[in-house]
Symmetry: C2
Subunit: 265 residues, 2 copies
């Protein structure tokens, strides 16, 4: 289960690159397979379209059980709303014994998740530093999760004054959720709360917008968008959002380079 | 502001590597500078010890203002409890105008955050796939954040049934927080809730433990540990933790490879 990061090839870790290069079969969504062309040198390739996630994982497991070395690729981080969990679910539904490559126990399948730069880190980087303090990641896709659960999580995240990262804010079929999020959060949060909207971070056509909770729905978003809503301390600074952790309040005076804080990270 | 990922060199993205190689000055915590030795070919190096985060950022800003090309390095992702936010705070305290390298406006300093694999993604990868659904990241360090705020966030995260990722679970001076977290969460969550404890993920001496909320404090943790506490759906499967997203419930029958789900990721 190999993570490609947000914008191959500059954002894939060496271990993931090697895993793709050394695979006998590469399994993945069409768009990512196309991007991987430079790494494909004779590996068998199994491409699939959108909406075939279960089939894709089943194919990967079948191939691995047949003795092939398989790379199941995922954009961003395979373990954060990616393919890793579904692949493990498929293995468990078949009662397979699984373990890491270095396991000493008898298993049916060796598995490894190779991590990557998640979409939330890519989006945050383009916004400066909105995720410097506690945050909650919430997917707005209600195809697999009832909207009431999503609402409950949004309320809890607002109550806890978390920075909120929204995955899947909108799709062709889902266009009302982001407005509902705004209305729900406005009951608790300041309308001027800074919000960052990053689409296609580190890809062709990247867009970075800084706005406010009040104006959240005034900007284009799609399935490749990450929305980051600040906590009560987050501020806009030039083209950036910053969520302070409190170092400067506690220790430092601006321009006093000798200040010696006593901190952990 | 350059992210090194969890375990340099296999886990740093090419763009970050290039940023270090092309820097004129590399600024960072001693341990990470030591690790970077293979990339250092004549760059000036400014090392600092623990507890000097503010000074480190001020040094980096001073050097950049003096016209040097500076790489301020951070382990994991620089934007998640890393150095990026503090560096921006230091710039703001000095009223500097800042912008990305491609900005067209007049600025005092060009800045860029180069993302990396965050500690939470590294820890999750070693545990299988615990972060496949909504999660909250919370630091237990109460040096900069009042414990009441941390408690409020833990309560909110439990109420929202988030998977909970704990950063900084313990240090030499802070040894009671993890027990307090267990007691607090046990009021709401099942004692058998699966918990993963990963220390030094992808580094020498890595340790991966799967336990339960009830037994959370029975295992060694330190400042290099990430603790991941499941939501109500998370299950242990062999050596892994999986938080299902619901694909198999909704669409698939085990072993029915023809199932065509209609899903988004």
């Amino acid at each position: 289960m190999v993570s490609l990061g947000p914008g191959f090839p500059e954002y894939i870790i060496p271990q993931a690159r090697v895993a793709v290069e050394q695979a006998q079969v590469v399994v993945g969504y069409r768009t990512y397979i196309d991007l991987l062309a430079p790494l494909l040198r004779g590996q068998e390739v199994v491409v699939s379209g959108m909406k075939t996630e279960v089939k894709r994982c089943q194919d990967a497991v079948d191939l691995a059980l047949a003795g092939r070395r398989v790379a199941l690729v995922s954009s961003g981080d395979a373990g954060i709303y990616g393919m890793a969990g579904l692949a493990l679910e498929v293995c468990r539904a078949r009662a397979l014994r699984v373990g890491p490559p270095e396991t000493l126990e008898a298993v049916d399948l060796y598995l490894e998740v190779i991590p990557g730069v998640p979409a939330l880190a890519a989006g945050a980087a383009r916004l400066g530093a909105p995720l410097m303090h506690d945050f909650a990641a919430i997917s707005l896709s209600d195809l697999l999760t009832p909207w009431e659960v999503i609402e409950k999580r949004l309320q809890a995240a607002a109550q806890g004054d978390f920075v909120i990262v929204l995955y899947n804010p909108k799709s062709k079929k889902r266009d009302w959720q982001l407005g509902a999020v705004r209305d729900l959060l406005l009951r608790v949060k300041d309308p001027g709360t800074p919000v960052g909207i990053v689409t296609r971070a580190m890809r062709q056509g990247q867009s970075v917008i800084i706005t406010t909770l009040q104006d959240l729905v005034e900007h284009p978003v799609d399935m490749q968008t990450i929305v980051i809503i600040g906590n009560s301390q987050t501020y806009a600074y030039g083209p950036y959002l910053v969520t302070p952790r409190g170092y400067l309040d506690k220790y430092a005076v601006a321009g006093a380079p000798g200040a010696e804080p006593n901190t952990e990270t």
